[in-house]
Symmetry: C2
Subunit: 359 residues, 2 copies
DNA sequence: CGGTCTGATGTGACCGTTCACATGGCGACA
DNA sequence: TGTCGCCATGTGAACGGTCACATCAGACCG
């Protein structure tokens, strides 16, 4: 197991005819459907039929073909198939913040679901949400010939850019706002946010801030709406949410800012990272969590349970989300069936960062 | 900006000829090189030459072709090109733990670098490191026709599986052990681990544990080696490292286990997540960090600075790593130039979890 | 027992590129 | 002034699949 850091055992071009090789395999290229056909004594079309599980093939013929295939290590050529069918069987993901737990989990789940369904996935990560880099990413994906697009990014802008580039694509986002009932998939972000907010209110908090995500992310907007809805449903006066950028760093600086006034007893952060930053700021100010300030996050990243104190948060099932997302897209693409919908219900996890209001 | 959760503005097949459309665009399919050629009054081959920046084309001809292209919104068909050149311009990433910060960052960086170079990237995420799922992922990537493979996973097993499936591919891993000087790219993981270890020793610690990663990950092995090297270089007696799985949960349980005996004053964890779990366990035991126990991590995930106390760790530049990785692979693929090598030096970040040995 | 249907297979074209080679024009050089 | 070579361009054949259609047995039916 030494030094296998870079192995480069190239195959094509080289080859050469050494040893008592039978003449069958053509020189440089991989075996094709016709090579298989020749060896199996059938026509190339019959081989194709085997490949596509055509019903009318005699079992023995089929077997013979299959045997030759495995003997030759035949692998169908994706490009050739894509060329004639004009289907790439590839989905694209446009993702921002893909290093964060949420997006990363979704990507993994999407990839898994797509693979299951026989699709490939290519990603384009954009660092900033600016129009230029969105356009770049989108153009890259479009050039690849994707059949559908999943967006994990500031969706409003992506949508605009899509239109601007006049790219027409089946398009799905991970989140919905809850409207658009027929079509949209939904972790009910709003419900999750209401859960979090209600929890704080039930603990007696009245002065609650919301540290939101960037507003062109649909989930950020939905969580904010959930917060506002619950606050007004419970007749608690609200202050304007603070718009963050999902990072712990931002949470930290926002927290410092907020603490100069300290007119609150609880904060609901729109994701766990920002919550962590807030916790840091609170401690820096010499305050104790949850005695002086309660904090609640959103997502339940795997680290959240190990924060100090362990973070109260709302669990979201990213994996399920990714799966449904692909199902939706594929249902659209192949329209073989109605996708069952139904909402993924997020779950409140009460841990150590929320407590009864100081007063 | 309502309900854009799922927009499905399909294009092909439909079309239809309404309005005063000129007859040029063929019905269902996208414009091809020949459509462009016809409109520009040249042969298809000339269009192809424009596409491939062939030198011998009269500027005016070229311009004419380009004009027609943009007028028709011509996009080259990747499948057709791939078919004839037998180059997919696609790289594959086989990744485990892709929801964690390190792998996720590397993937993003690889994608960016590949895109820069005109390559696409497809990923296959494996959940468990078992042979079956590795084989699945690999087969999937192979069927896609990737030209090169990047592995962010238990590399030993991947390598075996690769051989077993008799897949021959240019192959690069993110880490090297430092041997194999000509070819390998290296964050010097060993140096980083030595840095961390030395830091603890200099603080007076003598009883130091190492919580390592899974040993079939090269980086885990390298960090462990660095730890052992430094310990023996400084004549500090060592205990056998504990083999973990990269997760905070594991760190927590390992910590609890360790603390039943408590024959140490410091722990070097092979990544930040495990360090976080350890911190949790230490606090659970009623001990204080760093007064009673010093902890150091590895990676510098963005949250590390906001842990309590902020985590001392070793920063690793995943992005640079990803870039170099692609450069290496592409250098191999296109062999246009010698890649400059040189080592990425990791950096020690002393924050709040390490202190002078209790004694 | 002829006709029709269906099952199993073959034939040839076609998808949109690039490649190898051919062609014609024009300047340079002997 | 013939010819050599290069430049700009064109022609036709791949590439490896799938699709539409043709073919040829038998089975079934009246």
């Amino acid at each position: 197991m030494d030094s296998l850091a870079c192995v480069t055992v190239n195959m094509p071009y080289c080859c050469g005819s050494e040893g008592p090789v039978t003449q069958e395999p053509p020189r440089g290229r991989a075996p094709s459907i016709r090579d298989v056909a020749r060896l199996a004594g059938v026509s190339h079309q019959t081989v194709s039929r085997v490949l596509n599980q055509h019903p009318s093939i005699r079992p023995e013929t089929k077997q013979r073909v299959l045997d030759v295939m495995s003997e030759l290590q035949y692998k169908p050529n994706r490009a050739a198939r894509a060329l004639v069918t004009s289907r790439s069987h590839t989905l694209g993901i446009l993702s921002a913040s893909s290093t964060q737990y949420g997006p990363a989990s979704s990507i993994a789940a999407i990839e898994a679901a797509a693979r299951e369904a026989g699709y490939w996935v290519t990603t384009a990560n954009i660092e900033s949400g600016d129009a230029g880099s969105i356009a770049d990413g989108l153009a890259h994906l479009a050039a690849q010939g994707i059949e559908g697009l999943v967006v994990i990014a500031p969706q409003v802008r992506v949508f605009d850019t899509l239109a601007q580039l006049s790219i027409d694509l089946p398009y799905v986002t991970l989140q919905s706002t809850g409207r658009d009932p027929g079509h949209a998939l939904s972790v009910d972000q709003i419900a999750g946010a209401r859960l979090a907010t209600r929890h704080l209110i039930e603990l007696g908090h009245r002065n609650i801030y919301h540290l939101a995500g960037p507003q062109d992310w649909i989930e950020a907007e939905a969580r904010m709406r959930g917060f506002l809805d619950e606050m007004s449903a419970q007749d608690v006066p609200t202050t304007a949410p603070i718009l963050g950028d999902w990072t712990a760093d931002f949470g930290y600086y926002a927290g410092r800012e907020l603490l100069t006034v300290r007119d609150f007893t609880a904060i609901f952060a729109s994701n766990d990272q920002m919550a962590l930053g807030l916790m840091h700021a609170v401690r820096d100010a010499g305050l104790e969590i949850p005695r002086d300030v309660s904090i609640i996050g959103f997502d339940d990243i795997p680290e959240a349970a190990h924060f100090w104190p362990p973070l109260t948060t709302v669990r979201q099932d990213f994996a399920e989300l990714g799966r449904r997302c692909v199902a939706l897209l594929l249902g659209d693409l192949e329209d073989d069936s109605e996708q069952q919908d139904g909402t993924i219900v997020p779950e409140l996890l009460v841990r150590g960062t929320t407590g009864v209001a100081a007063f």
